[in-house]
């Protein structure tokens, strides 16, 4: 609860120039952190700049709100997550400072230094793993209130409803070899593959290549210089820095997230690679002991990065716990950088840290020898974690090497997938380079380039297995999970890695277990008396590193489809209707007037979205017979027929007309919404059961603009513009098709059909002439009263005529006979899709029927989807379509109704959404207008 004291003498600060530093001291930048101004140099991360300025606390922890400082100084540092402007959860130890950045701490209330919720530490013993499962159970009515409190503890930054989207880009790449990781082994692999002639994409998470060479000693920097020179001279290698391979999917389909890219916020590169080389290196593992999360306790690689890359002195007086040569080197590095190394504990000789103490910052270290050493810096080097995530995604199962105390993989764990560097074993930088080069050559060979190379030996060296000291400390920093929690979980029976993970939430936080997983397994192994090998591990899932939704989405790719006649609709102020991919005119102001125009004179509707498929080949009738429920063998050239398709389950799938244009040429139309699905359906049959059929399909939906000319005066109107077609009723009767020119536009298809119930013609005009023909029709018919009508008027008229709409008047269970299509279904055909189901349906009575309903109260138009109730109040059906008919001047409905009530004259009860019930009568026929079809045939 006490504020974290701002120290009079900062423990950290900026050093003099370092040979490998990545900051540009000539280019100072300004930014603010929690409202206070700070200076940085170009190349500084947010955290290195703040450390140089003497700050050491960057966040508060999730559950206990403990102050947290630098741990790993990498992207995966769980303690350095900050908000930058509108961007939440920015990795402060990875993100470069940009001039003017507004940085703030997350998860603090009211401030980073004084955080009230740190009171949770005092009651921490009651907030053990899974505590929330064990309390707030009663009284139940209070649970929502408790839950609101829990939600306030959600970690993370803030997003705003109106935050700008940014420009996110997608790119496709096709390379021979992707190398994930640009350390010595990764660079060498890229070089080895390029030497073999492969096109290579080398992906590095940091802004610079080099991996641990960058913050190593003079020898490492010399080797890095040589590798960089070689890379500059090499051909065929593209390098992406500040980028990460986030996922490996089937067929080496690899996602690369480019976090900084000129001209865009971020970019997702989707790569199809011949081979993948994973050279992710090793992640240093924290050590578990009391106080291991105090600011001032950090990994040896973090100290090396801070000193050598950013010239930041991480403390003034240090204790170093080392179990390896890297740790020993960091002790020497600190001493050389002016840090007093007060004690060096050699974990190989069983020396260890028992506890780190301090308030808000490390002040002393208790060692296993019983000493208490004053220090403001504790550096641990206790082992490594192999980030095998990408390999796991390729189906590889790394094995736990007891002697090396880490998971390892072979260099060629799966076809087309390779590994090199620390994932495979330990070696000098030169040894890693030699291995990387050979693996690169072998990967190139797997991608078809060169002959490969002999693989040098690379295997892990021995390392003490260090997970936990004699005290309890944090296993997962981002989730505030301690080793005690893991012990407790095991004791309660959550004793397998998956159960313990789920119960404690260890490894489930934003660092995805990269720092935590092996310690978690080590502690669980200790708690259950098993070995890590026996326990197994949890599954690494994509992405390897978190990816912004923006980068995944890219630019919006939801195309809108407009007909070529759209300029007219817009000019007329038509109300737009979103119909799947299409935007269509719903009406032009007064749908009832549009209906009257069609019923009395002539109207035009733009039906371009109707699906249109050209079928060519001598077996087309056989295909149509298979897909439609009716017969097609006898269709004459020039004739059109209505057809309905069912799926295998007999459920109505689509309807439309199909006309025979020539001997072997047919034009099939589908519903607008079914255009894509029917095309796939036709292709599916042709490519499976119908492979022997001579039929070729071409989708022509948008090749034609389609205009329906409807109304008693339609023939008169067309006669003024059509050439090459005799429009006389005998020469061009109902359900016929002709080809001719309209308004001088040749090769138009004319169908004499009608959804509205009036004399009407459907014109399919080459799309580029659509608007011209439309306007020509309007011009030519001005004296006839011609005008446009929209979807709404068409829906009213088709309802008056009793024509069903598939998907509206039918549903996912409506088989053809239940859609009033008995007259169409020809069960005597040898076979067709859905026939067995329809034969069975024909032998039953118990299916719902499609009926026309007329509400007896003429003022009430029942909303669509109103339910129909039986005597007992049980649901017996529903209204599927409902409108007021301007022609008949009363409401008309189509409904699905239980068979026993579907007899004409039966009165049923419509239950309106407002709660009222109104009676309605089942009509004689579906068509309420011109049920004889006289007008259609005029």
């Amino acid at each position: 609860m006490r504020p974290v004291a701002r120290r009079a003498t900062p423990t950290s600060g900026r050093l003099g120039p370092r040979p490998g530093e990545v900051i540009d001291r000539a280019r100072p930048l300004r930014f603010t952190f929690d409202g206070r101004p700070y200076l940085a140099y170009e190349g500084d991360t947010i955290v290195s700049a703040l450390l140089a300025a003497g700050e050491s606390v960057f966040s508060r922890s999730f559950k206990y709100h403990r102050p947290r400082g630098v741990l790993s100084a990498t992207f995966f540092d769980p303690n350095c997550t900050v908000q930058v402007g509108e961007e939440p959860n920015v990795r402060g130890a990875h993100r470069r400072v940009r001039n003017g950045d507004v940085v703030s701490a997350q998860n603090v209330w009211p401030s980073l230094r004084y955080d009230v919720k740190a009171a949770n530490q005092a009651v921490g013993r009651f907030l053990s793993a899974g505590f929330y499962y064990k309390t707030f159970i009663k009284p139940e009515p209070l649970w929502p209130a408790y839950q609101q409190v829990l939600k306030r503890f959600a970690a993370g930054g803030v997003v705003g409803a109106d935050d700008p989207h940014g420009y996110y880009d997608h790119r496709y790449a096709h390379v021979d070899v992707v190398v994930a990781g640009g350390g010595p082994a990764g660079i060498a692999a890229a070089l080895g593959a390029a030497e073999a002639g492969a096109a290579v994409l080398l992906v590095e998470e940091e802004p610079h290549l080099g991996g641990h060479l960058r913050y190593g000693g003079p020898e490492a920097l010399r080797l890095l210089g040589e590798l960089r020179q070689e890379l500059a001279d090499a051909k065929g290698i593209e390098v992406l820095t500040d980028s990460v391979a986030t996922g490996r999917y089937d067929g080496n389909w690899i996602a690369v997230h480019q976090r900084s890219v000129p001209g865009a916020t971020e970019r997702l590169v989707k790569v199809r690679a011949g081979a993948l080389v994973v050279a992710a290196g090793l992640i240093e593992r924290p050590y578990v002991f009391a106080g291991n999360d105090l600011p001032g306790v950090m990994l040896s690689t973090a100290a090396a990065r801070l000193v050598n890359l950013y010239a930041v002195r991480p403390g003034t007086r240090a204790v170093v716990l080392s179990a390896n040569a890297e740790g020993d080197a960091v002790a020497a590095l600190l001493a050389a950088a002016g840090v007093e190394v007060a004690a060096t504990l050699d974990a190989r000789r069983a020396e260890t840290v028992v506890a780190a103490r301090g308030h808000g910052h490390l002040s002393s270290v208790e060692t296993s020898q019983g000493r208490v050493v004053e220090a403001d810096l504790l550096v641990t080097a206790t082992g490594w974690t192999a980030p095998t995530s990408l390999l796991n995604m390729a189906g590889v199962r790394p094995t736990y090497d007891e002697a090396a105390a880490r998971f390892v993989v072979g260099a060629e764990p799966s076809p087309g997938v390779f590994a090199t560097g620390g994932l495979v074993g330990d070696a000098s930088p030169e040894g890693l380079v030699a291995h990387g080069r050979a693996v690169g050559a072998r990967a190139a060979a797997a991608a078809g380039c060169g002959k490969g190379a002999v693989l040098p030996e690379l295997s892990p060296g021995p390392h003490p297995a260090l997970f936990r000291s004699t005290t309890h400390g944090f296993v997962d920093y981002s989730e505030d999970v301690s080793s005690k929690d893991v012990f407790q979980a095991a004791a309660e029976g959550y004793d397998s890695p998956e159960l313990a993970k789920r119960y404690t939430t260890a490894t489930m936080g934003p660092s995805q277990g990269k720092l935590e997983l092996v310690n978690f397994l080590g502690v669980l192994a200790e708690a259950t008396g098993r070995s890590i090998g026996e326990l197994g591990t949890t599954t690494w899932r994509p992405p390897y590193a978190p990816v912004s939704l923006g980068a995944l989405a890219g630019r919006p790719h939801e195309p809108v489809r407009y007909s070529p006649i759209q300029p007219y609709h817009e000019a007329m102020g038509a109300k737009p209707l979103v119909a799947a991919q299409w935007i269509r005119p719903d009406h032009y102001g007064d749908p009832d007037a549009e209906v009257r125009r069609v019923r009395e004179a002539v109207g035009l509707i733009d039906v371009t979205p109707l699906g249109k498929l050209l079928l060519v080949g001598k077996d087309t009738p056989a295909l149509l017979n298979q897909l439609y429920v009716n017969k097609w063998s006898a269709l004459r050239v020039g004739a059109v027929r209505y057809g309905v398709m069912c799926a295998e389950d007999g459920v109505v799938f689509d309807d439309g007309v199909c006309g025979r244009l020539g001997e072997d040429r047919y034009l099939m139309s589908t519903t607008s919404s079914g255009a894509g699905a029917v095309w796939e359906w036709v292709e599916r049959w042709l490519q499976t059961a119908g492979r022997h059929l001579d039929v070729y399909v071409t989708p022509l939906t948008t090749a034609y603009a389609s205009i329906n000319v409807a109304g008693p005066a339609s023939r008169t109107l067309l006669s003024r513009l059509v050439e090459g077609v005799d429009l006389a009723p005998e020469a061009f009767p109902y359900m016929a098709v002709r080809e001719g020119s309209v308004a001088g536009v040749e090769r138009c298809v004319l169908w004499r059909i009608g959804f509205t119930g009036e004399l009407s013609y459907e014109l399919h005009v080459p799309a580029g002439y659509g608007l011209f023909v439309w306007e020509s029709l309007l011009d030519a018919g001005s004296d006839l009263g011609v005008g446009p009508f929209g979807i709404e008027a068409q829906r009213i008229m088709r309802l008056e005529k009793g024509h069903l709409i598939v998907g509206q008047d039918t549903d996912g269970l409506t088989q053809a006979l239940g859609a009033g299509l008995d007259w169409l279904v020809k069960l005597d055909k040898a076979d067709f899709v859905g026939k067995p189901e329809l034969v069975w349906q024909a032998n039953r009575e118990d299916y719902d029927r499609l009926v026309a309903l007329v509400p007896t109260d003429e003022r009430t138009v029942p909303p669509e989807a109103s339910q129909l109730l039986g005597i007992d109040g049980d649901i017996v059906g529903r209204i599927t379509s409902s409108r007021h008919s301007p022609t008949l001047r009363h409401p008309i409905c189509l409904a699905r109704l239980a068979h026993h009530l579907a007899t004409p004259g039966t009165v049923v009860r419509i239950h309106l959404p407002d709660g009222r019930d109104v009676p309605a009568r089942v009509a004689e026929t579906l068509a309420a207008y011109d049920s004889e079809g006289v007008k259609l045939r005029a």
Partner: protein, 492 residues
């Protein structure tokens, strides 16, 4: 680790201390679970060094660092969770007892339930609690709740389309509302409201349809307009200029989210306390029959005799059915999901868009949980695809353009046993004693409590409860489908 734990347990058993009459009654041995093979090692330990500690419902014998725990109050009075127990454990550092025992497989049971997910565990719980049938084994080749019960997106709702469906899922919602108290395990059910968006007039019509059926069956659902939607979810773009304008939504206030693991563990713990045995890591290899009757189960841990096998598996339901030659119209499709890094709470309701194939909710921890419709191909793979995350992100951003900077943390997949009518299969089969609780597609988790209750009744009485009668296997042969596609294909 060689020293105390195993040797002490061995000694405790070897000397037949009256406090520890049988291995299976030992709850936990410090450092090693009871019943593990190493416990048979015999090493001398001096009993006079033992120290006995007793708490309510549990006692411990301690020798040096070795501890043996056991329940004293037996099955009838399990350890209770409460705020007071948290405080007591916090103060005394008294260990919590095991959530469920680990015991050897017995040679015979009254019923064997295959699958330790919510359906299997709930069925076992209700068998023991409602019908007193406790000689029951729940076997699973993995761990408790490790299949789809731990992979789903934990949405609970009852705003279905058919009266049969609405009634059934409503029973489940009712049981969920009381579940924390029933199981003495906080399952964190939050009835935060469930919104299914309509972007075109045909989906709006389906929303009205569902609302009307829901209301008639007594379930709280209504269709609301864009202003009300904006009030409930301020981050949604409800302007009319968008590619997929939001015309309205089906609003279902009782719908919400739950902590799926907690439900699984709560059922397991409660069933175990009533005497049911849970066997993790035990795979069913074959089901033996005589004529058309179930006789037993062959498992990876040995053979079991039983007259009843309940198939409560998901993802592989049809494979288990194949073992007894029962044919089901189940086809298994993967269903993908993903979760983001946490951000501060901004989304209270569950939001579903059928047209955009996406649904989203925000957990108490601040993460966004996303799901979609099932993958279009049949597969047993639980790996995620890149395309899924791309589509998901673009669709979510179409709905909530402000959140493009949130990062996706993890993606995964579950397996959905799809049926032709998007409804489950519960009940008897032509093989006597082989019962089905399968075909749970994308709606299994929300149904767990109700199906468990009903399946237990079926096992105990031999009669199919009315609530699930419509979902029998025979409906596919008799043409009585229960069509829920309109309410279950995206918004799970």
């Amino acid at each position: 680790m060689a020293e105390p734990a195993a040797t002490f347990l061995a000694e405790a058993v070897h000397h037949q201390w009256t406090a520890f009459p049988e291995l299976s009654n030992l709850c936990y041995v410090h450092g090693r679970p009871a019943g593990s093979p190493a416990a048979t090692v015999t090493v001398p330990v001096r009993p006079e060094r033992a120290e006995l500690r007793v708490w309510e419902g549990i006692e411990m014998v301690k020798v040096g660092r070795a501890q043996v725990w056991r329940r004293t109050s037996g099955a009838a009075a399990p350890h209770r969770y409460s705020a007071a127990s948290l405080v007591r454990h916090g103060l005394t550092h008294e260990p919590w007892p095991r959530v469920w025992r680990q015991v050897p497989l017995r040679p015979a049971y009254d019923a064997v339930i295959v699958g330790a997910g919510i359906h299997g565990l709930a069925t076992a719980y209700h068998l023991a609690k409602d019908h007193g049938i406790t000689k029951v084994a729940v076997v699973d080749r993995g761990y408790v709740g490790g299949g789809n019960s731990g992979r789903n997106t934990a949405i609970v709702r009852s705003n279905y389309l058919t009266p049969e469906g609405v009634r059934f899922y409503d029973r489940s919602v009712k049981l969920y509302e009381a579940l924390s108290a029933e199981l003495n395990f906080n399952v964190m059910f939050e009835q935060r409201g469930h919104l299914t968006l309509a972007h075109n007039d045909s989906s709006l019509r389906t929303m009205v349809w569902r609302a009307e059926v829901n209301k008639l069956v007594g379930v709280d659902s209504s269709v609301i307009g864009p202003e009300e939607i904006k009030r409930l979810v301020p981050y949604l773009d409800t302007s009319t200029e968008t590619r997929y304008p939001i015309l309205g939504a089906l609003y279902h206030p009782p719908g919400g989210t739950i902590r799926h693991d907690a439900v699984n563990w709560g059922y397991a713990r409660a069933a175990d306390a009533l005497g049911v045995e849970i066997h993790q890591g035990v795979e069913v290899l074959a089901i033996s029959t005589t004529g058309d009757r179930v006789r037993g189960v062959v498992t990876s841990a040995g053979e079991i005799a039983t007259p009843i096998v309940v198939n409560c598996t998901a993802g592989h339901a049809s494979l288990l059915c194949d073992m007894v030659g029962v044919s089901t119209p189940v086809v298994t499709h993967p269903l993908q999901a993903a979760v983001t890094e946490p951000v501060k709470a901004f989304l209270s309701a569950v939001v579903v868009s059928g047209s955009l194939h996406v649904y989203v909710s925000q957990t108490d921890r601040g993460e966004l949980v996303f799901g979609a419709s099932t993958d279009p191909y049949a597969s047993y793979s639980t790996r995620g695809s890149l395309e899924f995350t791309e589509e998901l992100a673009s669709h979510v951003l179409a709905l909530m353009p402000g959140i493009s900077k949130i990062r996706l943390l993890r993606q995964w997949a579950g397996l959905c046993d799809m049926t032709p009518d998007f409804s489950p299969i519960m009940g008897i089969t032509p093989v006597e004693g082989f019962l089905l609780d399968v075909g749970w597609g994308t709606y299994g988790f929300k149904a767990g409590p109700a199906s468990g209750e009903a399946m237990a009744t079926l096992v105990a009485t031999g009669k199919t409860p009315e609530l699930i009668a419509a979902f029998d296997l025979a409906r596919f042969a008799e043409g009585r489908l229960v069509g829920e596609k309109g309410a279950a294909s995206v918004g799970h």
